[in-house]
């Protein structure tokens, strides 16, 4: 057992052990000790995963639990044990998760000061689940970490015990429970069809006797569950209600990386287990492409039509997930590299923006853009973070997110998809800029479409210093402004290994050119912001008619996002039927 192989399970065992330790001695722990222990654990895991990612570029680090290596069973072709396989991409994403947790713990210093440090126990279990989800190589183990992540998320969403957070947590729990039932049924079908649960073994079994209905059915069910976690249309309805009502440190993790893990797992499974036949998944990939376009556009429009900051950021996450699905649907190394860079870039920016929303909730007792008009003047550091974040989201041509967007434009096959990316990036960036300019410097026209959006009077714990709350957000923004060309060599090595951990060779990534697309995106963002600044109250009959016409699509979309859990479950069943029909049409 080499060094990295011995340390690999500690990535999951350390947070679990710390959570269990806190649960045991929480009664006798001095008050701030839980915060310190949690931050140290998160930073330790981040460094360990970063080191493992570096080591893994040579070859994947494999750890078989219990010593049950494939040959220990003396049965060729039968894999008994469960493996953790750290390929560079998975280890890097695990490190990114730990980084966001460290920033969230720093932001949450003093937020939860009751005795039993329950918040830190739940968050550490959440961290362990995400690390396990990134690293596991066994299908049912993936379900166990998926479920632990969900249970921790349900409890953390309902933590503030406000009426909206309880109802949001209820619909979040019901929809994600359905996703886990579908995933279990998919695992049952795949076990019946291939006789094993290991990713590579499933891939070999599928290559041997081709995708028959059982394996296609299993893939559809698992894909539906992962698309629910990745909030792709029509499975995305739970996300806006859950993120808008969760406490800020939890929303940072939700939007930062939890939803991205769904797409990451879909890419890994698509590459390692179901990518055998080139044409095998063509109709499903086409459906994923169109679902990505629909999600990006619907998410962008809903972002533009929101006034509650957290709900606005939640819909921008939905839009970015749609964009990432566009790159992933091709299942090529270039798409995987684009997914990784874009996921890290948008995660950093989204985490910083959610922290700004948390600051406004804490110090100005509201997250409503219109109610906060000119209220943010005393908090200029938070204003700088928000406006810079909006610019980066809108396509500012520097930093990781720009590099990610550039790779996605290169990876995306069709023109329509590129148009959708430009439109949704402009809408999300402009919405954040509109909110930032309205709250901090107070520059804003008359509220247009966002006037009728749902909102709520709420506040979060106030007596926390401003510098302590702005510091993590500012650090994350500095990270996202790093030149993306620095990450290209690592990405070139990591991307092919995500689709097949034992692949050699380097992916060729297109050079960082100032393409037409990035310029058009940034121009569109500035145009939308200018439009919202110059908007006056519609006086003439024609202007009033135009304003009514402009509000029509937004009111229809808002009616579809009704908040009723029965609707959400109906839409999920329809989505599953859509996926099944696409898979069945392959034969």
């Amino acid at each position: 057992m080499t060094g990295p192989e011995t340390l690999l399970p500690l990535v999951v065992l350390a947070p679990l052990g710390m959570a269990a330790l806190l649960a045991t001695i929480a009664h006798w722990l001095p008050s701030r000790m839980a915060d310190v222990l949690a931050i140290l654990t998160a930073l330790g895991i981040m460094l360990l995963c970063g080191w493992l990612a570096g080591q893994a570029t040579g070859g994947p680090i494999v750890h078989w639990f219990g010593g049950w290596t494939p040959d220990a069973a003396h049965r060729p072709g039968v894999i008994l044990g469960i493996a953790f396989v750290a390929d560079p991409a998975s280890a890097a994403l695990a490190a990114f998760c730990a980084l966001l947790f460290a920033a969230s713990f720093l932001f949450a210093w003093g937020y939860f000061d009751e005795v039993h440090s329950h918040f830190h126990i739940l968050m550490l279990l959440f961290l362990a689940a995400m690390e396990g989800f990134c690293l596991t190589h066994d299908l049912f183990n993936l379900f166990v970490w998926f479920e632990l992540m969900s249970v921790a998320a349900f409890a953390l969403t309902a933590y503030p015990l406000g009426q909206s957070s309880l109802e949001g947590a209820f619909s979040f729990t019901v929809t994600n429970s359905f996703a886990s039932f579908m995933m279990l049924m998919g695992i049952g079908l795949l076990y019946a069809g291939t006789g094993t649960l290991d990713f590579t073994a499933i891939g070999q079994a599928m290559a041997r006797h081709g995708p028959d209905p059982v394996i296609l059915g299993g893939f559809c069910l698992i894909a539906a569950a992962l698309l629910t976690k990745a909030a792709i249309l029509p499975f995305h309805f739970w996300l806006s209600d859950a993120h808008a009502v969760a406490p800020t440190p939890v929303s940072v993790i939700f939007s930062g990386v939890m939803v991205g893990l769904g797409l990451f797992a879909l890419t890994k499974l698509g590459g390692q287990s179901f990518g055998a036949g080139e044409g095998a998944m063509a109709p499903v990939r086409a459906l994923l492409l169109w679902l990505g376009v629909a999600t990006a556009v619907v998410g962008g429009l809903m972002t533009w039509g929101q006034r509650h900051l957290k709900r606005l950021l939640a819909f921008s996450t939905v839009s970015h997930l749609g964009i990432m699905l566009l790159a992933v649907s091709a299942l090529k190394p270039l798409g995987a590299a684009a997914l990784l860079l874009y996921l890290v870039g948008q995660g950093l920016v989204k985490a910083a923006l959610f922290m700004v929303a948390g600051i406004l909730l804490a110090l100005r007792a509201s997250a409503d853009e219109i109610a906060l008009y000119r209220e943010g003047r005393g908090l200029w550091p938070a204003g700088v973070v928000m406006i810079l974040g909006g610019l980066i989201l809108g396509g500012l041509p520097i930093g990781l997110l720009h590099g990610g967007g550039h790779l996605i434009h290169a990876a995306v096959p069709s023109r329509v998809a590129e148009g959708a990316i430009i439109l949704s990036t402009a809408l999300t960036g402009a919405a954040v800029l509109r909110a930032g300019l309205r709250i901090f410097p107070g520059w804003s026209g008359v509220p247009g479409v966002e006037r009728g959006a749902p909102t709520e009077r709420e506040h979060e714990k106030a007596d926390r210093p401003l510098w302590l709350m702005v510091l993590p957000g500012a650090l994350l923004l500095v990270l996202v402004l790093a030149p993306s060309s620095a990450a290209f060599p690592f990405l070139a090595a990591a991307a092919p290994r995500l689709l097949d951990p034992w692949a050699a060779g380097i992916a060729t990534l297109p050079e960082e050119g100032g393409t037409l697309a990035s310029g058009a995106t940034f121009a569109a963002t500035l145009a939308l912001v200018a439009m919202s600044l110059l908007r006056r109250r519609p006086t003439g009959r024609l202007a009033r008619l135009a304003a009514w016409g402009e509000r029509l699509p937004f009111r229809a979309l808002e009616a579809a996002h009704s908040g009723v859990v029965s609707d959400y479950v109906t839409w999920m069943t329809a989505g599953l039927a859509l996926l099944a029909v696409a898979a069945a049409s392959w034969r």
């Binding site: 309880l166 209820f170 076990y191 709900r311 029965s566 069943t573």
Partner: protein, 122 residues
Amino acid sequence: MTSLPWLAALPWLAAAWLFAIGVYGVVTSRHYVHLIGCLSVCQSSTYMLLLGVGFRRGAGPPIFYDHPPGTPAVDPVMQALVLTDIVVGAAVTALLLVIALQVHKRCGLVDPQRLRPLRGPK
């Protein structure tokens, strides 16, 4: 004994049936606690499918206490998966009941079709 065609697929159809009525129950429910009950019915469909996949006709349980190891036995891996699934069911049901209780304490309503976050009851 002639094995009828539908008998070979009985557990898969039973699982699909339980999943379908679970979804129907959740979509048409008018009380949070009733909805949670329907969710646990929907979960029992996964037990049915998993154990059905592991069953082998004429084989005994995978416990070699009273009959020696080597006698034909059903698949123990599927039973371990269902054990984990039952724990998942108990955990999620407990959390949902707590949320339903707290929502009722907050606003006196437990009708899933009237309660909507950030918008106030319909």
